[in-house]
Amino acid sequence: MAMAIRVFLSFLLFLSLTNLASSLYEDQVGLMDWHQQYIGKVKHAVFHTQKTGRKRVLVSTEENVVASLDLRHGEIFWRHVLGTNDVVDGIDIALGKYVITLSSDGSILRAWNLPDGQMVWESSLQGSKESKSILNIPKNLKADKDDLILVFGKGCLHAISGIDGEVLWRKDFASESIEVSHIIQSPEVIYVAGFVGSSKFYVYEVNAKSGELLKNNHVALPFATSGESLSVSGDKFVVLDDVRSKIVTIDINNGNINYNQKQVSDLIKDSSGQAVILPSKLPGLFALKINSQVLLIKVTNEGELVALDQIDNTAAFSNALSISEDQHVFAFVQYEDNKIQLSVKDVNDWNGALLKENLVIDHQRGNIEKIFINNYVRTDRSHGFRALMVMEDHSLLLVQQGEIVWSREDGLASVVDVTTSELPVEKEGVSVAKVEQNLFEWLKGHVLKLKGTLMIASAEEKIAIQKLRLRSSEKSKMTRDHNGFRKLLIVLTRAGKVFALHTGDGRIVWSTTLHALRKSEDCEHPVGLNIYQWQVPHHHALDENPSLLVIGRCGPSVTAPTVISFLDAYTGKELNSLSLAHTVARVIPLPYTDSTEQRLHLIIDVNKHAYLYPRTPEAIEILKREFSNIYWYSVETDNGVIRGHALKSNCIHEIVDEYCFVFRDLWSIVFPSESEKIIATVTRKSNEVVHTQAKVMTDHDVMYKYISKNILFVANAAPKASGEIGTATPEEATLVIYIIDTVTGRILHRMTHHGCQGPVHAVFSENWVVYHYFNLRAHRHEMSVIEVYDQSRADNKDIWKFVLGKHNLTSPISSYYRPEISAKSQSYFFTHSVKAIEVTSTAKGITSKQLLIGTIGDQVLALDKRFLDPRRTLNPSQAEKEEGIIPLTDSLPIISQSYITHSLKVEGLRGIVTVPAKLESTSLVFAYGVDLFFTQIAPSRTYDSLTEDFSYALLLLTIVALVAALFVTYVLSERKDLEEKWR
């Protein structure tokens, strides 16, 4: 009998082993997952609408994306995500068929095929000096044979053939110490103009054919200038002087440079504010911004300045657009009490407006930051205009005839932090109205499904089945479900906007631009930092809405003022917002909640003070009770120090603030700066659930996992090898791994990998840590696992001790007690570079774990933890095989079916978040980057529920067959009985 069980068990194990890859059928795509593509905040936009056919707009964004968008619907035709260091400086169209992008500080010029986005050529531009980069493509309406692209970058002027990207000539300006800001092309001569220092304006004339320097000329202004100069027309420039009180017009007509100056106060009466020249390129005009007013100033041919108009409350100006030979128009937007007015005017005819439209734009989108215009010819031969607007929340709108034609929520390309929230409980009577389906429809649907099951459905029927599946599933309902699959993903974007996405279909449930994180006078560059769950109502108070805490900062530096904001998780309404008097270096959510289920948070500032939130007496009370149990650590990467902290006492200020505390250093670990540099630290997730503390080994031995929440993984690299791959030799590279207890500062484990370097990506879960690094000797990536076991509890396995009560299991576990630790470790090769690592988390922690690895190809690979088990050996014994230990191989397998992103890519992948569902077998995975991707995965298959493709029809069929058989046999047996009785 025992043998039989054994055989059966090993058979089961064999079955489970063969299914290490959790895979997907092609027709299941979109059932549980969704994928959204974004591009990021648009920096430049170029329209391409001349030819008949597809109308498109080409954009480059702050996420280094070059994309072609459909002008009708805003969909992406094609898109390329450049490298993180490859910042796009300019984009334009050349020869009517190539999109030209200049990137990497003017050193890489690429041409992309306009229809399909295939790269046609790439040119590397050499130079020695950092400089502004300018892309200049002559606007010949008829495609010239020898079209020249002029690029200024790295201190050199390059002339590049538009056909094949060949550099025709280059002229080095690095020795001239000129800050080139303008390139003006005429058929024969190219003018290169810019300032030397701040008061000498130089103009160089270069032969357009050969790059030969023809002459140079300069003018010395009697005062310094400030800000960028602006080219008004081919030969005129305007710039402000250093006190911003004079406008200087520089005229370079016929090689002679003249300048005029005019006081700003002559043009406008109230000139008390700081004047700024707006960078919109308008022929013969420029816009001067003083306070909130914009002054449009015309530059006459004689170089005279004439104030044309004064516009209040303007938001954005577009560049000029030439709609015919001598007609140039531009657009600007104005705010007029709650209304937004878009005006398009002719540069030369100021009084007549070509277009004046009122727009209604959701105020959640914030201000309009940029506007690009394009024209089209209406049926009555008049000009119509469409405007592309970039909003403060990074979204993109296309406006035509006073209406928003399409909008893209491109703020979601820059997700900063993610949290989740449960949906409201379904109340009786409010359930979604049931759609009445007639019987025929119902029957048809089931016949279709049965056909699908029997694989006899045709292609169209398959599509119909897919649609039916998507529609009938309740996954997009707005209420909590039994399995916990439906949740709200709440994401904070860099623009400071908060979105709630439904996990069922990825739609935006609500979005809020935080009032505190809007751009204003005292908050110039607001950035979102973190989002936390602030209040999760208890099971008894389910009618209350959960709330969230958002932390933001007014600028990139740590010392910038901080704002915090509280949001309702169901509606997105901002409940409260505070401008903090202190800075934020770190936020620590404490494991305590008050009577209203608000979680206590400690905010640590840069001046070594800790502030308690919420600011209620009750919170103080709770903190006082747990005062001696609060520990945290800080990592000073620059100094190579890790410190442990504990609260000491209230702050000593003039004003008594009982929510402010000072803290003391408990311990510090100083790493030798000449040999080690901290490159990565990882700790356990505070909400992780561990199912069992013990692990039964093959020989029926028990190992106790060392499970502590206060445990930190630190990876240090040799200073020489702390850069990127390719900068160090194996001899000078070492990687040192530490596992540190953050309460006592004790180093639990230390390990050295010789000849290895970062970047290190790691994940800590239960008692193990998995990390990814680069091995220079083998020149391959490696992944290692360390499992930590508690030896001091190892002698608890004697059953007599349990009976007599002599075990130490009931003794309180304290971080102060020094357990004996044993660590096991193993390393494996891994093929790809890695961008992020996460581990699946489930509700009770029973289900086996999978590592989610975001690879360099922007895919997410699910790798079973069993592949990273230090007990793997080359020839596992029979008993070990039965336990599921996989024979040791030198590299980790990459099974293409276990890519959870299947054939999709999460472009620009930056992070992976896992959330447990209520169903133990399932974990929800959200991967974000430029794209967003969500799916559900079941690391050990869905052992606790029927699979999605379970055939109910077949079950019914069987039951019917069984019942029929029952009757038949009954009748038969009756008949037989009768026959027997007659006999």
């Binding site: 490298g83 791959i725 990536h781 069929l957 067959a961 058989a965 046999t969």
Partner: protein, 210 residues
């Protein structure tokens, strides 16, 4: 067996590709530049079925990545890529192409021997004489649904249930027939003695007390 023939075919095809490729250049020093060399290479994705060099449409989405994301380059229509200003040292090049598995490539840019570039696949330590990167295998992201067959129904739990039922219906009477009538009687007697089987009687202790 099928996979073996497939891989053999792939191998032969790669050989074929190599044989008709013009000798591509693997390296070249950058003229006039002080810092670094240029790595030129080519990614070739054999399009199965056609013998021409028509690269599949997917090629526009192929990225070539230097040193784990330090730089990203794209392919020209003919599959060539390049990295400029690469300092001397040992570098890693990876190819990210949807649907194909590429081995990372170790690239040694020699400082002593300017412009000398050596490349080797890190997965199988095969040196590359020419810098032409080929996928090691195609990646299949989806499980392939098996076509409908009677066996799959029979193997399913419901099928097994039906099978069991059939056995009971048709085979059991046969077995009963073959049974010795005396033995049958004895068995029936025993059953009567035990009465209705209860949970208590199933426990060994309880059974003994009976």
């Amino acid at each position: 067996m099928a996979s073996f023939t497939k891989s053999l075919f792939l191998f032969l095809f790669i050989q074929f590709c190599f044989s008709i490729l013009p000798s591509s250049f693997a390296q070249s020093p950058t003229p006039g530049s002080s810092d670094g060399y240029t790595i030129y290479g080519r990614v070739k994705i054999p399009s199965f079925g056609t013998k021409e060099f028509s690269l599949p449409a997917k090629v526009s989405n192929v990225k070539v990545i230097l040193n784990g994301g330090q730089r990203v380059s794209f392919l020209r229509p003919d599959g060539y890529f390049s990295f400029h200003n690469v300092p001397a040292g040992t570098h890693l090049i990876e190819v990210a192409a949807k649907g194909y598995f590429f081995s990372p490539v170790r690239v040694d840019v020699s400082a002593r021997n300017p412009g000398k570039i050596q490349a080797a696949l890190t997965e199988n330590r095969r040196g590359l004489s020419e810098f032409v990167l080929e996928p090691l295998k195609e990646e299949q992201y989806y499980e392939i649904r098996e076509p409908f067959s009677i066996m799959s129904i029979v193997k399913s739990p419901m099928g097994l249930m039906m099978g069991f039922m059939l056995i009971v219906v048709f085979l059991m009477p046969k077995l009963m027939e073959n049974m010795d009538p005396e033995e049958m009687k004895r068995a029936q007697e025993e059953m009567r003695n035990q009465g209705v089987p209860s949970l208590a009687s199933l426990l060994p202790g309880a059974a003994r007390s009976n």
